[in-house]
Amino acid sequence: MDEYQVIESKSPVFYDKYVRKSELQHQTHYCPGCGHGVVHKLIAEAIADLGVQDRAILVTPVGCSVFAYYYFDMGNVQAAHGRAPAVATAVKRSNPESIVIGYQGDGDLAAIGTAEIVHAANRGEKITIFFVNNAIYGMTGGQMAPTTLIGQYSTTSPWGRRPSNEGYPLRMAELLATLEAPVYIERVALCDNKNIMKTRKAVRKALELQRDGAGFSFIEILSPCPTIWKMTPQESRKWIEEKMLAVFPLGVFRDRKLAPMADAVPQTSVTKLLGLDKPQEVVTRPMAVKDSQPDLTVKIAGFGGQGVLLLGQILAEMGMREGREVSWLPSYGPEMRSGSAHCHVCLSHERVGSPVIEHPDVLIAMNEPSLHKFSKMVEAHGTILYNSDKLPAGLPPCEAKIYCVPALEIADGLGTTKATNMVMLGALLELTHTLPRETALALLKAKVRNVKLLDVDCQAIDAGMACLRKQLGPATDAHAHDGELAPCS
């Protein structure tokens, strides 16, 4: 009995079954004789042989090969039309160890995505792009592509492509070879056995280069489209050889030795940049615990630059640390400074239905216009904290109690007016006792890197608390403000 060994069979980089639809799960969706299948096989084989399947990420395009993720058993990102090189850039930069492969057709790469490919190549992104060029839009039914040959018929060049009207075929390999950065650029074709094997070699070489840390590699593959070209698979192979090769000559346009860039920036990760690689402070308070404190809605309003939005954020984050459901909704003009800004903060025991607050429990008015504008919105039992030592003239009567906290002056006395919002935070904490002072201090400790400023912020909170305590009277000293609150007048 003769014994045989398998020398060529389906690559393990392909899924056993393609689950795109319920039937025909053993076949790709490509037409008989399509070049995509061959390119898929060559890529899969190279990935398997290089042993990089577990760190290979394919960025698939829009076009016939849009469903490649149903076939390749590896990481995948589906990019918008033409944007595969941009997506691949992000994937590679955030995962430098991964092998990132862009797979694009000529409508995708050479038409809508021209900018992306040129700039990715020019930046020398360490990715590999396989450019499958069949001189036509295949998936959409045979429109003219930038790579369509002179005289070639398509649904949008029904008299044949004329240079006077549609210009000339775009030679992407040559075009990219004018750039400095790419390390490897080759054009190959699927026109016969010999050239298919050359394609196999080129695909492998490009992926090896990326594995070894080289820069941008680009393989253009002239590929048949029997269906749209209206030819048999055999005729379409011949057409590549006879027509396409004259316009798109095969060859290596760039083959540069590996040379590390001298000006390489230090590699870091997003995790490191955000400081998340260090042990994080664990908030142990369980989310489900409900404290006895009532829900609180706060509107903070003032000029841009007064820390209005930041105060809201800190309040919301304190709420999160205390296991509340929170929302923070900012509203501000285009000016970074001196425009009007306000934000809404909800601290709730239930899910927050809407982050918009029509009638806040507390209004923190950081300036006079905000007081005028928003004082009427405050709930009847609510409170207004106003950033001044006295109320302005002509304030329309309102039901809410108003306390004057000269936060700006207090903060200035502490050394910086930047802490104005923290004085107000202190006043709010003293007023409501919804959130503990310790949580505020812990949060600031985690957020404020400048030690001096942190110290001032903590003092500001205490000063704000003291200021309001004085106005509330001695009954609230023991954190029990059931006594009548005395508004400032």
Binding site: Y4, I7, S9, Q27, P32, G33, K41, N193, T232, R237
Partner: protein, 90 residues
């Protein structure tokens, strides 16, 4: 006739009958079946003769798993070392 050095199996369900392998096969040992498969195409098959196990049909075929190529395992026969040759080259 010399014994075939390889053989090919073709999944008639996966084959789409494009015929590229038939054209590409150097020893011309593949053909399209006269009958149709369930999907209405004439699938390719191995004639059973002359396969060299070169694998070309595998690479021209657009389907990932339609074709499997095998090569005959030739049992190693211990031959007496040629005069003057190094034993390690065996």
């Amino acid at each position: 006739m010399a014994q075939a050095r390889g053989k090919v199996t073709i999944d008639t369900e996966e084959c789409k009958g494009c015929g590229l392998c038939v054209d590409a096969c150097p020893p011309k040992c593949l053909e399209l079946l006269p009958g149709l498969n369930p999907y209405g195409v004439h699938p390719a098959r191995y004639t059973g003769m002359n396969c060299s196990g070169c694998g070309i049909c595998f690479y021209v075929c657009p389907e990932p798993g339609a074709i499997t190529v095998y090569r005959l395992i030739v049992p190693k026969v211990a031959q007496p070392p040629k005069e003057g040759s190094h034993a390690a080259t065996l």
